[in-house]
């Protein structure tokens, strides 16, 4: 900027409007400009402005590779300019490896693998500022099935983590909710009372201020013999939701999908979506995309409805399972399939060939983006936008075990 003494003094409002557009890296450097700026970058209102601005931009694609039976302890992002870069490593607190559970508004929820400790301890990590906190433990050495949810709600300006406990293939009997603003777990029967007979299968997907799990709803009044369920029985499957602001669980029915179709929960334009796909013989795939609309009815209750917004057939993608929507396109992690990735033929690197395939479901256009780093298709893949959001300063000490 060729600016001499003639540059006018800008009012604070304009300066803030410029600063909120800067990447965290620049802001970190510019906190040395003066005390006002240093304090500004720590103020909740500026952090919220910056987050809001960052969130309206195109997110990056964050991924944690999975190779040879385990998650690689390194995170990468594919940014807007289609460049892959490494993120700072996650502080492991003595653990050997980690798994990213979720990514929401600049923060990651990470599970670390400490031998002999189950459920795995959790961290909240901001890769942009490298700020990290280890969450307090509530249960040690517990053999059970735990499923997690992680997300942010702009309504309450808070990040929450939900952890459910169940005996294998049995109903959830305990639910804990962690709130970043209070810094503690809330273990209340109230949560569990809201969803008797619920069975979860996987961690949650978060969209529009709510977490969603695919699960089963058992009828607890019938005899045990009858509740001996076919776990794959489509009819009993439902989606459980947890509203991060009101902390209420609810049940959302799954729309009537075609027979034989596989389906998965996704996030499309910050709404919960179901992508159902049916392969045909020639590696092509028929997609239906359902989106859940939410609105409040006259008595202020949340009403939800499903709309099929899209149907199409795309060729040459039938072999793979899509991961997520990223900037309106479906991301596939394609790997270990030399020669199958169109004409690009991934080079076999350590016996692995990896690439992201981006599919525009409306035009059917496919883009291949080769990268050495993505590992096989179990890689964890998320949308990610950087933020200044702090997670706390003093890491909580490892429990003595």
């Amino acid at each position: 900027m060729k600016m001499d003494g003639a540059a006018p003094f800008l009012p604070e409002e304009i300066i803030r409007n410029i600063l909120k557009r800067l990447p965290v890296k620049s802001l970190t450097r510019f906190r040395c400009v003066c005390k006002d700026w240093k304090n500004l970058f720590k103020s909740p209102s500026f952090i919220a402005d910056h987050l809001h601005h960052s969130n309206r931009q195109n997110p990056s694609l964050l991924f944690q590779p999975y190779r040879e039976g385990q998650y690689i302890s390194q995170l990468y992002v594919l940014d807007r300019g289609m460049q892959v870069r490494e993120l700072p490593s996650v502080p492991l607190f003595g653990a050997s490896r980690f798994r990213v559970v979720g990514s929401s508004y600049g923060l990651l929820c990470v599970e670390i693998d400490v031998q002999g400790i189950y459920p795995p301890p959790l961290l909240l990590f901001n890769p942009a500022t490298r700020d990290v906190i280890k969450l307090p433990r509530t249960v040690d050495d517990f053999k059970c099935e735990c499923y997690l949810g992680f997300g942010f709600s702009p309504i309450v300006n808070d990040y929450k983590i939900v952890r459910t406990y169940a005996e294998p293939k049995d109903c959830i009997y305990r639910v804990e909710v962690y709130s970043l603003s209070t810094g503690s777990w809330d273990d209340d029967e109230y949560y569990q009372m809201q969803m008797p007979g619920a069975i979860f299968f996987a961690d949650a997907i978060t969209a529009n201020g709510s977490m969603f799990w695919i699960g089963l709803q058992l009828d607890l009044d019938t005899d045990e013999d009858e509740t001996d369920l076919d776990m794959d029985g489509e009819k009993t499957r439902v989606i459980f939701s947890f509203d991060i602001a009101s902390e209420e669980f609810d049940c959302v029915p799954i729309p009537a999908l075609g027979n034989n179709s596989l389906y998965q929960l996704m996030v499309y334009e910050d709404k919960l979506a179901i992508l159902s796909h049916v392969k045909d013989a020639e590696l092509s795939c028929m997609f239906d995309l359902w989106v859940m609309e939410e609105h409040m009815d006259a008595s202020d209750r949340k009403r939800r409805s499903w709309t099929k917004i899209f149907s199409s057939t795309c060729s040459a993608v039938g072999y793979w399972v899509p991961s997520i929507f990223w900037r309106g396109e479906l991301v596939y992690n394609v790997c270990e399939l030399p020669g199958l990735v169109g004409e690009t033929k991934c080079e076999a690197e350590n016996g692995l060939s990896t690439a992201f395939m981006l599919l525009n479901i409306s035009t059917g256009e496919v883009k291949i983006f080769k990268t050495r780093s993505c590992g096989d298709r179990r890689a964890r893949i998320f949308n990610y936008e950087e933020s200044l959001v702090p997670v706390g300063k003093i890491p909580i000490k490892e429990p003595s075990s």
């Binding site: 557009r21 970190t28 510019f30 040395c32 003066c34 700026w37």
Partner: protein, 162 residues
């Protein structure tokens, strides 16, 4: 002057006269109010003054004239793309040395599009600047004491005050 005029004359803060078309003036609420005053007042001889210097006002009017057709009628996506490219070029040219003046003018004239564009341009330029360059353009004094600088360096190794 009648309401059928197509352009009005305004004065810059330096006292130079500029013409701006009615449709372009609609991009700014304050300009639009001025225009209505001029068109509907009986005293037609008065030329309104805009508190923006000549060098800046030329660019602001150029921006308005370029964006007016789209703002007034709505346009196709290809036009929007073209306009985006034009914006980038517009900010690249000789605007840089008056960028802050453009920012102030866009803010004062309630021109959201130009304000956003100028803020983003300033942010993009700042990314490559050193801390002392930033202080210079924003007229900021380094108010950290040497102890405070030392403390910050300890907390954040590698941070620079220059």
């Amino acid at each position: 002057m009648s309401s059928s005029v197509e352009a009005i004359t305004v004065l810059s803060s330096d006292g130079d006269e500029f013409k701006i078309t009615v449709s372009a003036a609609k991009l700014s609420k304050p300009l639009n109010w001025m225009l209505e005053d001029v068109c509907f007042s009986d005293d037609c001889d008065e030329v309104p003054t805009i508190e923006v210097n000549s060098k800046t006002l030329v660019k602001v009017i150029e921006y308005c004239e370029k964006h007016a057709p789209r703002a007034n009628s709505g346009a196709s996506d290809s036009d929007a793309e073209e306009l985006k490219k034009w914006d980038i070029e517009f900010m690249k040219m000789d605007v840089k040395d008056i960028l802050f003046h453009i920012l102030m003018a866009a803010n004062y004239l309630h021109m959201e599009g130009l304000y956003d564009l100028a803020c983003q341009t300033a942010a993009d330029l700042m990314k490559g600047m050193t801390v002392s360059q930033i202080r210079k353009i924003f007229h900021i004094k380094n108010d950290f004491s040497s102890e405070e600088q030392e403390q910050l360096r300890r907390q954040h190794p590698g941070c620079s005050f220059d």
